[in-house]
Amino acid sequence: MGATASHLGKDLLSEYQELTFLTKQEILLAHKRFTELLSREDKNLPDPRAPTEAILTLPELKSNPFRERIVRVFSTSESRDGLTFEDFLDLLSAFSDSATLEIKSHYAFRIFDFDDDGTLDENDLEKLVNCLTGETDETRLTPDEMKQLISNILEESDIDKDGTVNLSEFQHVISRSPDFVSSFKIVL
């Protein structure tokens, strides 16, 4: 499991090709970019884990407002810090062109769930909007506008009117959102 040398085994490559939505070229490119992120000592470990700070330097993630959440969600370590190569492939696979809407919406839900409680409540939505518009004071919405926006979002997506958006409601509203598939996409 994992790739120690800078060269990916052929049967491992075809296995990854079947288990993810990525093509052979994309997996090889991902492997190349991943080994660039590792420090020299880590390269010789059997299953190296790239640290979060190194991953956040990738140009595809650097400008993304949800970059820390993305790394947290895809990380399989105890402390949710750092990605192995397979975690990295999961990330690219979920964000690839050929991933299904179900996979994308599943991961999008987990990324937007800032407090990891399984639902999107008002605090999660507020943090989400602030991430999108920017963190400084002049780029935020006023409290009234924020309240109006959150009540609009809940009105559109909360079907059972419990004040939170759960996974199935989220997937339902995403299935009707025409921009989601094209915007939830990262290509190396």
Binding site: N64, L132, D179, F184
Partner: protein
């Protein structure tokens, strides 16, 4: 891929599945997998051949998917024009070209000198030709270009008899015209099918839903820091505008009756004013065309291009005028944008129609009463070539204008804004890439191409080259001069919008072609239809010459009114059925939604009153077979977790027990 979401889970699932299968099934499964792998490799190789993939990826990273959709639309038009050209070339030009080499014998249309209609004075220049006259000919399509493959008049072929069969060129010419219009229609509809379905579903909500903006708002493909910052500010602007619009809508709904009357009167006056402006523009195009046709004898380039200049001026002034007028009409912001856009679309595409109408009024108007040959043979011995020349001039002029505006307006603007910090420059600001206006430009060019291909068969090739260069011009201008628009254009709705405008262009283009083919007498001096009164006549005549009587009768019956009326009635009935079905589905959806709300609220109530048999306690009932994985209240238990109490499935009350 099933329900697994990560590599480890998938691997385990697959190993488990493999263990259960017999050896034969395993072999079949591995064969299936290697076939899938082969297909994926092939697709990857094909996708690397896609035109401009690298450029479009770069634009996507810098500006997001809204502007990207403009460039992929441009790429689609390049392909469409190339296919139309190949169609025209292989069925009309290729037989003529290979006839001498393949042993074919070309029979030309007889030009009997007795008939005054079939006199075609040559327009080639004689004697010493000055160089600038060549340039004039190139720009106006006259002179040495007139009697070439470029225009309709050159195809004076009746039939080509190859060893074995006779190739009926007039029939091929007509059928290719019909074919390229149908092909364009089918291709556009197929491309817009996905967008159309989504827009239909989306339209029952607001114009742009908030969920779409928040959950799908961030383009993850943006890699540029500046672009990310701009995207953030444009998202903020968009959210503020939409919230503002909602407040305005509320205000509109609260309007009093007196205010409403006042608004409606203002709107009526302004709409009349807009119609008057449009009528004035159309009249000026009409007069300019007539003037330039009458002055054509002098062969001055400026006069030749007068209709194109007038059209371009009108299309430059009217959008500015419309955007000023719409401010007084007091619509909601979203509707304002749509309405202005529709007016601009109407203006642009109808101006071509007016040009053609004025041309035709000249062609079919003779000095002394009704025309001898059905058209004015003294001035227009080959009128189709003249129409083709006008379309050619429009195309060339359009390209010159796009290139000139980019070079002489946008680049200096950028230099002045960057290096001259005076107030005027700062107010004018940097160039914004206005997607709607750019799209209208290229749809206008494509409409001209569709109309003109019948009269100028090489026009699709010219348009392909033109759009090819426009891609690079626009890309360079975008990367160097422009900043993204403050009001962002959503990718999804923009794709739909582009294709709807293109469809309107196609509909408006097929009208002149149909009138030209079916109504106006074709010229007797040139072209493939010399032996027919109207171009369409070649089809019934060919059908009547068919050897098989049954087929002949069938084809004539298909063209009769009875079939047309019954088709129309069947289409109407089908449409009503589908609409009724959609309405029924909407009602079912609403009912299910209410049911969900009721069951959700039932879940939040204390359950005691509804299921007295289930004991309420801190720990689940011993009969409840929920494994330890049943999570706390608010979540549905994972699949396979069922609580059965006295034969009743109380799974959904599992968490209720935990709550209490």
């Amino acid at each position: 891929m099933g329900a697994c979401v990560c590599v480890c889970a998938c691997r385990e699932q697959r190993l488990e599945q493999d263990r259960e299968l017999s050896s034969w099934r395993q072999r079949r499964r591995s064969l299936h997998r290697s076939l899938k792998r082969l297909r994926a490799d092939l697709q990857e190789r094909l996708s690397s051949l896609v035109l401009w993939r690298g450029d479009i990826h770069l634009i996507e990273g810098m500006f997001g998917t809204g502007i990207l959709s403009y460039f992929s639309f441009l790429r689609f038009l390049v392909l469409l024009n190339l296919v139309i050209f190949l169609l025209m070339f292989s069925f009309v030009m290729l037989p003529i070209i290979i006839a001498p080499h393949a042993g074919g014998n070309v029979t030309f249309n007889q030009a009997d000198g007795q008939n005054v209609c079939s006199v075609y004075p040559t327009s080639a220049r004689r004697g010493l030709v000055i160089f600038h006259e060549h340039i004039t000919d190139l720009l106006s399509g006259g002179g040495f270009l007139e009697q070439t493959y470029l225009f309709y008049g050159y195809y004076k072929v009746h039939a080509i008899s190859f060893p074995g069969f006779t190739y009926n060129l007039p029939l091929a010419y007509l059928l290719v015209t019909v074919a390229y219009l149908c092909l364009s229609l089918v291709w556009i509809v197929q491309r817009s099918a996905t967008g159309f379905k989504r827009n239909l579903i989306q339209d029952e909500d607001r114009f742009q839903s908030f969920c779409n903006k928040i959950f799908a708002g961030w383009d993850c493909c943006i890699t540029n820091e500046d672009a990310a910052r701009l995207k953030r500010s444009s998202l903020l602007y968009e959210l503020k505008t939409d919230l503002e619009e909602e407040r305005i809508k509320q205000k509109i709904a609260d309007r009093s009756r007196k205010e409403r009357c006042r608004i409606y009167t203002i709107r009526l006056i302004l709409n009349v004013f807009v119609i008057a402006v449009l009528a004035a523009c159309f009249y000026s195009i009409y007069r300019a065309t007539i003037f330039s046709q009458k002055a054509q004898m002098e062969k001055m380039v400026q006069i030749c291009y007068l209709p194109s200049i007038v059209i371009t001026l009108a299309n430059f002034i009217t959008p500015l005028l419309f955007s000023v007028i719409i401010n007084f009409e007091d619509y909601s912001p979203a509707f304002e944008i749509r309405f202005t856009l529709m007016r601009c679309v109407f203006m642009r595409l109808t101006s071509i129609g007016v040009l053609l109408f004025s041309l035709w009024s000249q062609i079919t108007q003779c000095k002394e009463g009704p025309c001898l040959c059905g058209y004015n043979h003294q001035l227009y011995s080959c009128w189709e070539t003249r129409v083709g020349q006008e379309m050619y001039k429009l195309t060339v002029f359009d390209f010159i204008i796009i290139a000139a505006v980019t070079i002489f307006v946008e680049f200096p603007r950028k230099l002045m804004v960057n290096y001259c910090g005076c107030g005027l420059m700062r107010w004018w600001g940097q160039q914004e890439f206005a997607i709607p206006q750019n799209v209208l430009e290229i749809v206008y060019g494509q409409t001209i191409c569709w109309i003109g291909t019948f009269y100028c068969p090489l026009l699709p090739a010219i348009c392909t080259i033109k759009y090819f260069f426009i891609f690079y011009i626009k890309k360079v201008s975008l990367v160097n001069n422009c900043r993204p628009a403050t009001r962002p254009f959503r990718a999804s709705s923009s794709n739909f919008f582009f294709l709807v405008v293109l469809l309107i262009g196609l509909a408006l283009a097929s009208l002149p072609v149909m009138v030209g083919v079916g109504q106006i007498n074709c010229s007797q001096a040139c072209g493939p239809f010399v032996n027919y009164t109207v171009s369409w006549e070649v089809l019934p005549r060919t059908v009547s010459l068919l050897p098989n009587k049954a087929l002949r009768d069938l084809l004539f019956a298909l063209a009769s009114e009875a079939v047309a009326v019954s088709l129309f009635v069947i289409t109407c009935v089908g449409m009503f059925y589908v609409i009724a079905l959609a309405g029924a589905h909407k009602r079912v959806i609403n009912q299910l939604r209410e049911q969900l709300v009721m069951s959700g609220s039932a879940r939040n109530l204390k359950v005691a009153s509804s299921i007295p048999e289930v004991a309420l306690s801190e720990t689940p009932h011993p009969d409840c077979s929920c494994p330890a994985g049943c999570r706390p209240a608010g979540l549905t238990p994972p699949p396979g977790c069922e609580c059965i109490h006295e034969g009743v499935n109380v799974s959904r009350y599992c968490e209720a027990l935990w709550v209490i």
